[in-house]
């Protein structure tokens, strides 16, 4: 990366050098502009959703949780507005994760590390922590000065430090606090937490997430992206030559010259680069790199250097976007005097979009058509068949009825097959002697033992399929399942 020899790294003979590399602390300068505004906006939306979503209510009727988004671990249910998922439907999350992964690929092939620069929690919270730091300790220069200063600590400086860490910890604590609200009724839990009546596990999780937020956003910062996160590596493997990345347009920028000298040379009609070597792009960078060295793994592509450079270009009366979303192809085209081309729609983005549309569409279809009444049948394995005293054959099945709706259901069960089977539900005959009708409470399952008997004259020689029909006798909703009837 750094191609110039840093004289400080030259070691005298015999020096074994450090065993570890100390972090070079980054002091990003404040900046204003288009991308900064986009980042503020997205930060407000992301944090707003995260902190306040648990308080959104959703009426599901009496006895059901009224929280719009709730992960109910004790009852193994996931609620998301009008959707209620059971553990066996966890594949919807698989689908969601696949869509999320491909969406990440799509973002990457269109605009590089959009996720890293604008949406990743690490970026968002680090940004919040930097904002707090800047508010209390001042901008880049002041912070560097204060850190370097060897003067004894004065009361003012101490109060700054205490205030900064207190606010950081408060934000971190709210972050952990909001997390646990997704797993419990939020208003109730808040009341319990503030009166110290909350469950221990909630306090533990708040503590863990307070610690991770404080450490990762306050101290680790860009090191998380550089050393810990796998995405920069994956991203580098997924990118192509058309992807728009935050790029220093060296075709325009080089050769770097001072403002004054550039004006002189331009007056003489000479070709001069627009970069005035002001290092503003480096000063604002939250990862402490120089974008002019080309695409780098550390770069999270937050676009702040674009804002910084645009401000400078405006001041010296040169066109904006010396740093911008661009790629090498266009740099070379401009060098050859050709107009740049932008290919957002290309096979790669089309394929990604198609995958997202296909999986997303399939999931929506599955969700829209999923039955709120279901039946699973499991044939007894031991014994598979029982011979009765009159010579007829009986098979036993474990039947699980699932009622995913918000009301109790009365279910009638029938069995159908070529052997003229008769059926008996263990325990049901004493309740409803004529016809097996089972009541399943709302949002629950019932397991039944079903005995199916084939008359002696109809004994099958091998296994034959039988079909189980269940029907909600109130609403007419039906479901069925097939299993086999076997002879001993």
């Amino acid at each position: 990366m750094n191609k110039t020899v840093n004289p400080n790294e030259l070691k005298p003979a015999g020096d074994v050098g450090p065993l570890y590399a100390a972090r070079k602390k980054v002091y990003p300068q404040s900046v204003s502009g288009t991308f900064r505004r986009i980042k503020w906006g997205l930060m407000a939306v992301c944090l707003g959703v995260y902190y306040f979503l648990p308080f959104v209510r959703w009426n599901r009727g009496l006895g059901a949780p009224s929280q719009a988004v709730l992960i109910d671990l004790p009852n193994s249910r996931f609620y998301f507005f009008f959707i209620e998922l059971w553990p066996q439907e966890v594949y919807y999350f698989t689908g969601l994760l696949i869509v999320a992964a491909v969406a990440l690929f799509l973002m990457n092939s269109v605009g590089g590390r959009i996720w890293c620069g604008y949406l990743c929690p690490q970026t968002v919270w680090t940004d919040v922590f930097y904002a707090v730091e800047r508010l209390i300790e001042g901008d880049r220069r002041e912070r560097m000065k204060k850190d370097k200063s060897s003067d004894p600590l004065k009361l003012e400086r101490i109060s700054e430090i205490v205030l900064k860490h207190s606010i950081w910890l408060m934000i971190a604590w709210w972050t952990g606090g909001a997390w646990v609200l997704y797993f419990n009724d939020a208003p109730t839990l808040v009341k319990e937490l503030v009166t110290f009546q909350g469950p221990m596990i909630a306090y533990i999780w708040i503590g863990i997430l307070t610690a991770t937020t404080y450490v990762l956003a306050g101290y680790m910062r860009e090191q998380v992206c550089t050393y810990m996160c796998p995405w920069p590596r994956i991203q580098a493997a997924l990118t192509d030559e058309w992807a728009l990345n935050v790029t220093y347009r060296y075709d325009r920028g080089e050769k770097r010259t001072s403002v004054k000298k550039a004006a002189e040379l331009r007056a003489l009609g000479q070709q001069v680069g627009d970069c005035v070597d002001c290092y503003q792009c480096v000063a604002v960078c939250p990862t402490g790199i120089d974008i002019r060295n080309g695409p780098q793994m550390e770069c999270i592509q937050c676009g702040l250097c674009i804002d910084a450079c645009d401000n400078v270009m405006a001041k010296i009366g040169r066109p904006k976007r010396l740093i911008g979303y661009d790629n090498d192809i266009n740099i070379h085209r401009r060098q050859e005097g050709k107009a740049p081309i932008y290919r957002i729609v290309r096979p790669r983005t089309i394929v990604y979009s198609a995958i997202i549309a296909a999986i997303g569409g399939f999931m929506v279809y599955m969700l829209a058509t999923r039955s709120l009444l279901d039946v699973n049948v499991l044939h007894d394995r031991n014994p598979v068949a029982v011979k009765l005293s009159d010579g007829s054959i009986r098979n036993a099945y474990t039947v699980r009825l699932l009622n995913k709706s918000g009301y109790d259901r009365a279910i009638a069960i029938d069995v159908e097959g070529p052997i003229n089977p008769t059926m008996h539900v263990v325990g049901a005959d004493s309740v409803t002697p004529d016809r097996p009708i089972i009541v399943i409470p709302r949002d629950s399952t019932s397991e039944l033992r079903l005995l199916v008997t084939a008359p002696a004259e109809n004994n099958p020689e091998k296994s034959i399929p039988v079909r189980f029909h269940v029907m909600d006798i109130g609403l007419g909703v039906a479901a069925s399942a097939t299993d086999n009837f076997v002879a001993p």
Partner: protein, 291 residues
């Protein structure tokens, strides 16, 4: 020590380790400080773990840790909690009548779950894990019962057993007609074939049905009843149905008649608590054959 650390790679500008292979030198890239700190912290953590938790095996025991933690004690606590949670329901199982348990879906489910577990622990060795039985051990899924298939009868059999030695046990056995010299070998063959004819099984050529009927009436009717329909009071099986505990072929029948049969079902009273025996009875009854 050589002074290779002052060796600077001309391309990257970084110092090298001095290791060189075919002209390619290894750059000296130190680990990030936070990584090294984390690494040392894990070592500290591991040592703390040894001190706090049981960790080191000793000759006949192990170190117990500062707080005497034991996962076995955890299990005991969990089990006690489970008993507490189940307390009310298990109490209901103990007080409700057998018929009421079968009528209440929640109690039935509890009894079946409990019964299934206890069956696996205690009954499966003879009756099989699915209660399908084996030769000499009745299949509990079918509708043929030696000692009766109502809830009360099943519970009685579980409680007191058959030929178990318990004071209230079921008594009665198949006599050894051949071994004890009651019947002659050819008479045994004849009556065996007669028994086969009762359930429509083919008989040996030249078999004298009238003679078989006469031997049966003189020796077997006392227990197996007129026509061989059996008698549950004495555990005498129904000989007219399709279910045979010791086999229905002629050789098996001859062996049964000449050697006798007296399978033992242990008494479970005293070994299992009353609520568990109830759960077992409901479970066995619900397997499908219950009357």
């Amino acid at each position: 020590m050589t002074d290779h650390h002052s060796d600077i790679d001309s391309v990257s500008g970084k110092s090298t380790t001095g290791h060189e292979w075919d002209g390619i030198k290894e750059l000296n890239t130190p680990l990030p400080r936070w990584w090294v700190i984390t690494f040392y912290l894990t070592i500290v953590w591991a040592i703390a773990y040894w001190v706090v938790y049981p960790a080191w095996p000793l000759i006949s025991s192990n170190t117990t840790g500062m707080f005497g933690y034991s996962s076995r004690a955890d299990v005991a606590v969990e089990l006690a909690n489970l008993e507490k949670i189940r307390g009310d329901k298990m109490a209901a199982l103990g007080t409700a009548s057998l018929a009421d348990i079968e009528k209440d879906p929640a109690l039935l489910a509890l009894a079946r779950a409990k019964g299934k577990t206890v069956f696996g622990d205690n009954c499966a060795p003879c009756h099989g894990s699915g209660a399908a039985g084996a030769k000499g051990y009745p299949n509990l899924n079918d509708d043929d019962w030696l000692w009766g298939g109502t809830l009360d009868q099943i519970m009685q059999t579980i409680q007191f057993g058959a030929r178990s030695g318990h004071a209230k046990t079921h008594e009665g056995q198949m006599l050894a007609f051949g071994k004890d010299g009651v019947l002659k070998p050819d008479e045994i063959v004849t009556v065996a074939n007669y028994v086969r004819s009762l359930s429509g099984l083919p008989t040996r050529q030249g078999f004298d049905k009238a003679k078989g009927e006469k031997i049966f009436a003189e020796n077997c009717v006392a227990c197996h009843g007129d026509g061989g329909k059996g008698n549950q009071e004495m555990g005498a099986p129904n000989l007219t149905d399709k279910i045979w505990l010791y086999g229905s072929d002629e050789a098996a029948l001859i062996e049964t008649i000449s050697q006798g049969r007296a399978g033992v079902m242990p008494a479970w009273e005293g070994r299992l608590d009353p609520a568990t025996i109830k759960a077992m009875a409901v479970y066995v009854h619900s397997l499908g054959g219950g009357k």
